[in-house]
């Protein structure tokens, strides 16, 4: 199972084994990592699972769909490396992925 690292806004680091096929959002929710709300449940309709992806990983991720960029307009402090974690499906390619969770989701 790939290891995913979540940096939370309280400066803590959580490294979790996340099953292939789950999303980075689900990995956080199932392991009680604070700061990801995922209000809509993974439907790309709320922007409350917003994460910052560490730069070196940006190219390895699937491209954003239009809908994701539209939702990121709504996110709290979006940056160039912003993604919705519900759109990042875990696979072996993402072994070692590091994401940072913003201080707020809305």
């Amino acid at each position: 199972m790939p290891k995913i690292t979540y940096n939370t806004s309280d400066n803590k680091t959580h490294t979790i084994d996340v099953q292939n096929g789950l999303t980075v959002m689900e990995g956080a929710i199932q392991n009680d990592i604070p700061g990801i709300d995922a209000d809509c449940g993974g439907g790309m309709s709320c922007a409350t699972c917003h994460v910052y992806v560490n730069e070196e990983w940006l190219d390895k991720l699937p491209e954003k769909e239009d809908g994701e960029e539209d939702m990121l307009d709504m996110a709290f402090e979006p940056k160039k490396n912003s993604r919705l974690s519900c759109q990042l499906i875990v696979s072996d390619i993402l072994e070692g992925l590091v994401v940072s969770i913003p201080s707020k989701q809305g």
Binding site: S45, D73, M74
Partner: protein, 339 residues
């Protein structure tokens, strides 16, 4: 004071169907919702997106589902209280008194919370100083557009609200439109109009910029905006408008003494009552082992919660189980004439 059997909090699909189930068993209800229309997340988040997992409906949009539910509860003449958020809750003998932020008061036997993930509130600027100006020279919605006449307005956002107001206000105000990227999520025709107005010099368009800070004493004087490349611009502004959509927040329900875990209200699965007698929770807001956040689960939960409400509304009567195909009482309540 509105006196009724049940107050439903939330006019999403779950709340609407619960109203139907209450009507079928002969209870009355009223519905409050913080939005200006019924439909909840279906209308606010995905009105045009098809839903494929409503039993016996292969495909329908959020808007169609809402309209069908409204049609289905029509016989019960349910009163809606929109743009209202519940604030205070008080137990008075064996009834509940509820007050909304618009000072509407209800006297009910029981309450069904069908509040989704909370009430929709505008998303705000991350910049802290904005709070100081909020409601005075910084707004997240427009109530009175006349105050903007001949002023300089900085509008932030890239969706329909931001584009529509930029176009509208450019007739009588100086408009800056600031958005974090080149693409816009609003309607293509509005995007084209904004671009045309920008070329004519009627709208100052700043893309790949976000708010950096606001300054002013009692009112805003100027806004600093920062480009992706780090460059900062100071633009004069009398007013600032932010349109970043809505976020859901649980609000005052948090203070009612309900058992809440991870923003969800714990319920039993027999009748979806919470730890407080007479208060039920259904739909996305409730949690129990195995909970699925599906509309169909909300319908089931609403049907059982409605039956749970019966003993509080009619303590001296016994509820008999009946089918709508054959129940005379249900037909009368639905306004169906039997031969």
């Amino acid at each position: 004071m509105n006196k009724t059997d049940v107050l439903i909090i939330g006019a999403g699909p779950t709340g609407l169907f619960c109203a139907h189930q209450l009507g079928i068993i002969g209870l009355t209800c009223e519905i409050v919702d913080n939005l200006d229309k019924a439909g909840g997340q279906c209308i606010e988040l995905y009105p045009d997106k098809p839903i494929y997992d409503i039993p016996a409906i292969p495909e329908c949009t959020g808007e169609e589902l809402t309209n069908n539910l409204l049609q289905q509860i029509k016989p019960f003449n349910v009163n809606f209280h929109l743009n209202q958020r519940v604030e205070e809750l008080k137990k008075v003998e064996n009834r509940w008194h509820i007050k909304t932020n618009g000072n509407k008061e209800f006297d009910v036997a029981s309450i069904v919370i069908a509040g989704g993930v909370g009430s929709f509130e505008p998303r705000k600027f991350p910049v802290k100083e904005c709070e100081k100006f909020e409601g005075k020279t910084l707004f997240y919605s427009v109530k009175d557009k006349t105050i903007f006449k001949d002023k300089t307005i900085s509008i932030f956002g890239g969706g329909d609200s931001a584009l529509d107001w930029a176009i509208e206000l450019s007739n009588s105000s100086k408009v800056n439109l600031i958005h974090r990227r080149d693409g816009f999520s609003g309607a293509e025709s509005s995007v084209q109009k904004v671009k045309a107005l920008s070329e004519q010099g009627k709208i100052n368009l700043y893309t790949k910029y976000q708010m950096d800070s606001v300054s002013g004493e009692n009112k805003i004087n100027s806004v600093k905006i920062k480009h992706d490349n780090g460059e900062v611009k100071d633009i004069k502004s009398d007013f600032v408008l932010g349109f970043f959509g809505l976020i859901m927040q649980l609000g005052p329900i948090l203070d009612w003494g309900l058992n809440i875990d991870k923003k969800k209200v714990e319920v039993n699965t027999e009748n979806f009552e919470t730890n407080i007698n007479g208060i039920f929770a259904i739909g996305d807001i409730c949690s129990y082992p195995g909970k699925l956040k599906l509309i169909l689960s909300g319908f089931h939960e609403g049907a059982l919660a409605a039956r749970g409400c019966f003993k509080y509304a009619k303590p001296d009567e016994k509820l008999r189980f009946e089918f709508t195909t054959t129940s005379k009482a249900a037909h009368e309540r639905l306004g169906i004439k039997n031969d």
